[in-house]
Amino acid sequence: MSLGDEIRLASRDLGSGRLQTELSVPGARCAGCISKIETGLTAVPGVESARMNLTARRASVIWRGETAPDLIAALDRVGFQAHLAGVVEDTRDPELGRLVRALAVAGFGAMNIMLLSVSVWSGADDQTRQIFHWISAAIAFPCLIYAGRIFYESAWAALRRGRTNMDVPISIGVTLAFALSLYDTVLNERHAYFDAAISLLFFLLIGRTLDHLMRNRARTAISGLARLVPRGATVLHDDGRREHLPVEQIAVGMRLLIATGDRVPVDAVVEEGRSELDCAIATGESAPRAVEPGSPVQAGTLNLMAPLTLRATARADASFLAEILRLMQAAEGGRAAYRRVADRAASLYAPVVHVAALLTFLGWMLASGDWHRAITVAIAVLIITCPCALGLAVPMVQVTAARRLFDAGIMVKDGAGLERLAQIDTVVFDKTGTLTLGQPRLMNAGDISSPVLAVAGALAGRSRHPASRAIAAVAPPSSPPLQDVKEHPGLGIEARIGEDSYRLGRSEWAVNGTAVRREGPAGPVLSRNGQLLASFSLQDTLRPGALQTIQALQEAGLPIILLSGDEPEAVEAVARRLGLTEFAARLLPGDKVARLEVLAAEGRRVLMVGDGLNDAPALSAAHASMTPADAADVGRAAADFVFLHPSLEAVPNAVSVAREARRLVHQNFALSIGYNVLALPIAVLGLVTPLIAALAMSTSSIIVVANALRLRSADRMRASSTPVQRISPPVPSSMVEVPG
């Protein structure tokens, strides 16, 4: 499946032939970038409009036409790396809108009631106080219904299933506070808690909205496996008829035509043709695999060289990709059992609040026999101990941490992922595509004379084999005229220059009869009339920052394990270059999961960093997982973190931010619980006036928020001391964005 098809599949149909595509552009940081990206995209034929959102680092492109414009290449030309951002959501998130509207209404109510309350507290006379209480009640009632229903609904849902959550004491406290204040207002009493009830809702809604924003990211970041599976394939019927059938209708025994550049739709056997398949995404093998009639091929592999005729051996739902999906679902069980810190805190805290309020009520009933007094004090206890700061403690830190990671090019899918990442004690890496870029590079270009290299480059330029591309990339452009260029799939490429016949490819094919012995990894050779001219040594490029990353993680005391599906020699070479001692090669997807399970059984919490299809089950089995943005879709869907910049330094960076976030969450818990413990005796003794309640609540919330924001200021200091790798081109210093 070509990139154009992928762009098309990731687009949303706006009707009347217009389509909308979302691209993620992590390198955009300034006004210059916005205009470069927008003009660059609009210049592509077929593009109607393009709009860059700098906050989300996303470009939204509207285009029309049969074939998708190559938007990624267009951005590459203006110097930005881009990724497809997944299928555009059809509608905006209705839940977020609901929360923000409730937040706005509660904020309006809280501010106005608070203003009225201030004058009551500063000693308004009886008549004025009475009027102000009535106005407060009139504002509070609609606010309570509108903003409070978010808590009521959640509390009711929990109660109906016979459970309790944090929303139950909130709902009871707020409703009782309002009802009792109304009762007191009717009886012309001095105290009313309208302000406490509504500002409580306001603070809690801030926390709730932030929490929702975190979870929401998770939803939009996930796009299905379907994008990688071809939607259909050309079936060759026995009577010679060709038909394009959807993948689900391909039956065992059907003959399929796979063009160059297409992915294999189902597991099959080659019937006709020779080619090479890119299996990197499926098995982690770095070298393309040559296939000939009789070779089995796996679904999801990419045909690189020549058209193939295949005979299907499995249906789509029994193919390799479906198997991966099943493994992933089975592996996810362990992670689903993880309970978020906030939930664990709430389940401990809610009963304490209920019991404290109930005991206070009973105590005051016994002591004074005045039910009105007893209820007032019990409500004060509920309000004072209400987990206002507790509700803000976690989401505020996680949103700040996510924002900081986002600025460093790391997408966080949800808050639970951050919590789990902070706990890891072992790091497992995949090789191909993760520690390495999965693209070979010519290592011995210096040993080859320039004219020979030019010939090799000219030949290589005619092929799309990864090895050819690596040679063509470093060859001088002065190309001698080639004649009779012929590509032999699985062997190499042949051409004539004048009288001489040149061959670039496998040594046993290019050089007459002799197997060439060389040092280093086996690579292609160039021959003239059957005589060896040069041999090329190719090696997979390490991902930028790989060495520093490994060192940083080892210094942090984290053991590192390399698990790969590639051949042992290739794995060992990479492990040696990076100084890794623990590694395993030729692992199937299931084997990787099994290894992780062994580690988990030893009580280790593993961070898995991988990219391929074969890593997807391991990514969902690990305690936490990261994947680069150019990974297979499934991998991106399974991982907790996706890093957009090519450098692997995102891994230690994310780990340190997650650990810092955990420290701040714990501090916040200590702060807000400490606060409540201090305020509880005052409330139980019945000394809490509405003024004290309002002060206590706001101060604890503000302290918690301020503490969470420290995560952000720490980032600023660090950003000025260490160079952060950016892909975007240098910008005039006057335009450099001030983080914030």
């Binding site: 916005i34 959102n53 700098l54 989300a56 923000v100 706005a104 309006f108 501010m111 203003l115 964005e737």
Partner: protein
């Protein structure tokens, strides 16, 4: 006291206007790209 009769409704009305303005700006997407808006002001539209 008599001043309160019209001052309080006036205050509430102003507050209500602010609330409506916020909800309107939210709906019209003005908070979708806070950073971009700050940079777009620097762009010269006549250039292209």
């Amino acid at each position: 006291m008599s001043s309160l009769v019209f001052l309080i409704p006036l205050a509430l009305l102003l507050g209500g206007c602010a609330l409506w303005a916020f909800l309107w700006s939210l709906r019209s997407g003005q908070y979708d790209d806070m950073e971009g808006a700050a940079h777009r002001i620097l762009m010269d539209d006549d250039e292209d």
